[in-house]
Symmetry: D2
Subunit: 408 residues, 4 copies
């Protein structure tokens, strides 16, 4: 009998199976740092609009690794040299690219910790794991930081057509059921090639690239920037901000041990020592929602009401406008809330606020998608497209929202 | 312009869209009692084996309602009379059939509350909602309790081919990616009919019924009774049991306000007054995992270790046997644990335990699946099948598991 | 037992089931005129590029009828009045809209018959069937001809978002496996409405409409206008043209009885009496390929070689250019062929020829897709789109091809 | 730029893409012998019941080759040694395993040629190609004939779980839309292993194997042996038999050049010289249907009526019984036909006939499916299954049909 290779297989509704390619990667997946991602929702609060959207960072990371494996196979098939070490480093880098995400993915970056991106925290995790695994992540880290001499390897991790994007667009489309947003990841990968150390798409793939850009645009406006999802995410950030504010004013709040630490402490990137990283590695969606389960009974009106809104999905009203919301309009809404609930202006600002969302379907200034013709000429897809005006798509679209209570 | 009917549409990756059919049902879905189901996992801890399995009771309930709507359409098309009132009652009854599920679906029934099934609690919720909605759920409740004179309506809610089962098998197969377990719900529904007030399947559907039974059997052994899932569920029940034990011995534990109540109080069915129901309606998966986030630091060895095992997916070892595990074997394993960690026999029993799992693919004693021939004759599918030995499938299969720590 | 409604169900890999809604429609489907469509390929010779593309006009017509049924349900749900008679007429009109297609769909229009579109022949079939079914198709015909007073009913049959298009784009994408071309027909239908007797799409559907236009564009360039498919279709037309030419010059050719008639006779629209229609109703793909099976042995070089090329998929070479092919280039290639095979210039033109293909992704001059805002305002989607430059997409793109033998 | 490997990619709606792995295989696919399979329907006349079932032997052969490639990868991953030569031979053998199929797959074997199976003809084709390609198919032929010393390689071509079966069950289920019949080919392949030179399935795959057997059984009874499909196939065989009978009695019939040869000549396996093989290689579905297009006007009542029945899908009535049809019943029906249409008994037997269909879901006598336990023990799946009575499934089920005209 062929020895049952000890490597494992994971079920995936999208790709069928994902094979875990090697012992080191298996150990990284088993590590508590990575297991935590099982409890971090990939799409934050979007499940409030799309009830199927409960997939996790854990599953997405495995999916991106699966696609990376495909991409490496395709490129090798086309004669691009990629060594075994480079391949493993690519798989590790894509597996861990999101490991620094806090609870609900993005909400945390702007509330619990301060001025830190999840990429920075991902890097801290990778370095900690590199220590633990005796330097075996060194090449992965170099590629992740774009310090390795082969540029296209980094582009597979982070670029217009990276494996992260090719998995999350497909996966988010799948779980939300917004099938128009689906991207044919395998076909795009099949058309990748490398010219002058840069990723390119074979010319005949132009319509697939166009469709990729349009599908992505659709996902942004219909899903990621759906106004109800926006309100929910804003409320989530505000409930955490209020909790921190109260805690730092000496008010006692129930919270899990580690969430308690972050509510009591201001943490910036320079504070992120091993101890803080370890605490951060314990946080996930359950700490946040778990705390709100107690906060819904708290004496503080703001904390209580925000928690209830999220738990009962009884959110603020939201209006989307093409122009900035006037100060007059905002003040008027705030006044109503202050008066009705006897709140300060500061407290009312938790219930009446404005902001903007924006999306740029395609960027022409940097990191363009390039096509390669049969004769080897490289051209920006926006210039190659005979008709679909990709230049028009490179304009940023901005919309402004106003949130305020339903029943004033 | 045709007036935009105020009714809503929900995206579903499986059926495409689910239309909310009417204002009363829309209000029931918006109710906090029902919204809670967004935070109750349909498959408990199964995501530990199948990382896609994060779908919720909320989504399943909507899916079952979608199928019920199809079934009613099919039966009316075939000339069965179903009034508008009966139809709405069916939709409500299937929507709410699982509303009594506690956190992680089944684990709760055997730990937090005592000797209460989720069906009983579902009924309590329905009755509370009936009060709130001025009696509009009365017919739904009668059908749910099988007190309405038309038997087949109850069978659509609860029976061998009820809409609950047709949705959850399909949905669980979809989200786990175990595609062999998939059931063609729409085809089975298309072949339903009613004879003598009982649901039957048209004869030509015999192969679909056979395949339904085999797919369901596969889902049981491969998914629901997967040994790793079993360990996780057992650990979850034990962590709650330990928490309750400690609390009732006066040890202080962090927990959300409502979980705290259930840890401090013995609740049986007779204790379930409005107040208790309201508290129960606040509990979901997040209270449990949220509490474990603090318990992982608790002084109590048992509580701490069990919490860590679940959070880090570093579970007990499990063996499946066809025979009962011998007392000798169990005692030996317990001894090792007691000795190694200096535990009492009672404490060790949290880490070494045995139990059984069983499945009966088809029951011949009651509630059989009946076929109807073209001439109107009704026969049990187990008798009609020319070859697939369904009688054999009606034997119960029992397996015994032994759980114990990995590294003794 | 609910009487088994005598109406039938047809399996469809795309929609699951298609129910035949009523006895008249069932009879129309059973009619030999309609059964013939089982032997007319939906995508002509495209299977030469996409081996899955063997679906038929028969299946497409059923699919379009299925979608029409959905569309009528949606519009009625939104309060648009559509009577039972209008509904049946819509279903019939869409079912029969393509019944006039000749063998290989489009190739026939330009070779066997002369200056006749398949729509004209479809109408002749409908009128013949109307006679046979005692006038029950009168309303369907009026809607088909746009002579009925309710304009939007005709738009469902023939317009930018008609059920024909919504089915064929989806179906062709499905069977070719070009999944990027897939159109979410059900979602587009769910967003239809009627304002001032015209079909409109609800405003929030804007991204779906954009994606529909881009997917359609992709299907054109990647599938329908694939250069290998173009050569095959051109060869098919030429083999028929040659056969007709030879026949009319008195050369004897094997052919089925009815193909024989059309090879011997010039048929224009005015010649299409009942007898001719009956003969036409006997023609399908099998007459053409069947004849080529004998023509591959014919003495005539042109007829023989063209037949062999198609049968063995050993086609002409094809080049696509953005500019017209120069006469010089064409002449040079012709000369080579004349010389090599000792052919006349006329004969050589069967092997060396040029032509153009073109596609306009969106038309702004007529029959635009209109959106309706929540306040009831109607706007052209090309004006509403904030960013995707649909005006650019309304330019026609033309490409020129040159076909010539491989081995000169 | 990585050199675009000259190898081609084919779109497949089921697997996404099929890569053509190497130049020799590419040339085999381009060969007219193989291209012919584009015009041989995989499921014969089944499209008369399932309108989606128009896929071809060509597509199936490519699909089976795709799966073979997967299987080889899996086995190599598990440590089974398979050389590059063996791999190519496996791919060629599976690609060509069905190349000997005549028009409509099975109908031909029993009418046009006599006492020849399609496997015998496949072998003749392979040998002819081996000559043409200078012996490069020698190893493929040895494996196909089971003359190579490694038995499991042959089992991948022909056995209970061969790639032929794993593709056709999946493909036929896909195109018919009978989704219950779908087989998870990739999962079964992922669980293959080799013990003592024989293919085995890993023990945990037991439920998948069970489900495979049940799905296959369902496909047989619901699709392959669907009574309407049976009538159509029987009529097809009979129309050919009649054509041959008439031809050999000197009656002149229109037919393509090569069909003409086979109508005029009795061909047994010993007659199959190069010339006959070449003629056979020209026959496909189009010759048959193409001829019927003329035969529908023939003077012979039998030939004409059978042709019309098939072309207009106006078939005989069919009854399925568990017991043999009595001679009395058959005679009575024949009498009616003889009397009504003034036919001889022989002629009437074309319209009234009986026969049997049978299926054995699992065979225990030979070529069983074996499981291998973790400890390396090999057991027949029928013995391993704890509950699903596979022994019962090994009984052959026989049904008897009677066909006779609708309107007597």
């Amino acid at each position: 009998m062929g020895k049952r290779n000890s490597l494992k297989i994971v079920n995936d509704p999208i790709y069928g199976f994902i094979t875990i390619p090697g012992r080191l990667i298996f150990k990284l997946i088993e590590h508590p740092y990575f297991q935590r991602l099982r409890r971090v929702s990939q799409m934050g609060m979007s499940y409030i609009v799309y009830p199927g959207a409960h997939h996790t960072r854990f599953h997405h990371a495995l999916g991106a690794m699966f696609l990376m494996n495909k991409a490496v196979e395709v490129l090798i098939f086309k004669g691009i040299k990629i060594s075994e070490e480079e391949k493993e480093a690519l798989l590790i880098a894509i597996l861990l690219h999101d490991i620094g995400h806090g609870p609900f993915s993005h909400a945390m970056e702007h509330s619990i910790v301060e001025n830190i991106t999840h990429e920075e925290i991902s890097l801290l995790f990778m370095e900690a794991l590199n220590k633990e695994f005796n330097g075996s992540l060194t090449l992965a880290i170099a590629i992740f930081k774009n310090e390795y001499h082969r540029n296209f390897l980094h582009q597979l991790i982070s670029g217009q057509l990276d494996m992260d994007r090719l998995d999350y667009l497909r996966r988010d489309s799948f779980y939300t059921g917004v099938s128009e947003g689906s991207v044919n990841s395998e076909r795009l990968i099949a058309m990748l090639n490398v010219v002058d150390d840069s990723l390119v798409v074979e010319e005949k793939g132009i319509y697939s690239v166009e469709k990729f850009i349009v599908a992505r645009r659709l996902m942004y406006w219909q899903v990621y920037l759906h106004k109800t999802g926006i309100v929910a995410e804003q409320l989530l950030m505000r409930v955490l901000k209020r909790a921190k504010e109260l805690t730092q004013n000496g008010v006692s709040l129930k919270a899990s041990t580690d969430l308690d630490y972050f509510l009591n402490t201001s943490v910036e990137i320079t504070d992120f020592n091993d101890e803080v990283l370890r605490k951060f590695s314990k946080l996930d969606d359950y700490d946040i929602i778990g705390a709100m389960k107690s906060w819904q009974y708290h004496d503080d009106f703001v904390l209580r009401e925000l928690s209830l809104m999220l738990l009962n999905r009884d959110l603020l009203k939201v209006k989307l406008k093409k122009k900035k919301i006037s100060e007059v309009k905002i003040s008027a809404e705030k006044e109503k809330v202050m008066h009705q609930h006897n709140l300060s202006a500061h407290e009312a600002s938790y219930f009446v606020f404005t902001g903007s969302i924006s999306n740029q379907a395609y960027r022409m200034d940097k990191d363009t998608i390039n096509l390669v013709t049969k004769t080897g000429k490289v051209i920006d897809v926006a210039k190659a497209s005979d008709q679909l005006n990709l230049e028009a798509l490179s304009n940023e679209v901005v919309k402004y929202y106003l949130c305020y209570p339903k029943k004033n």
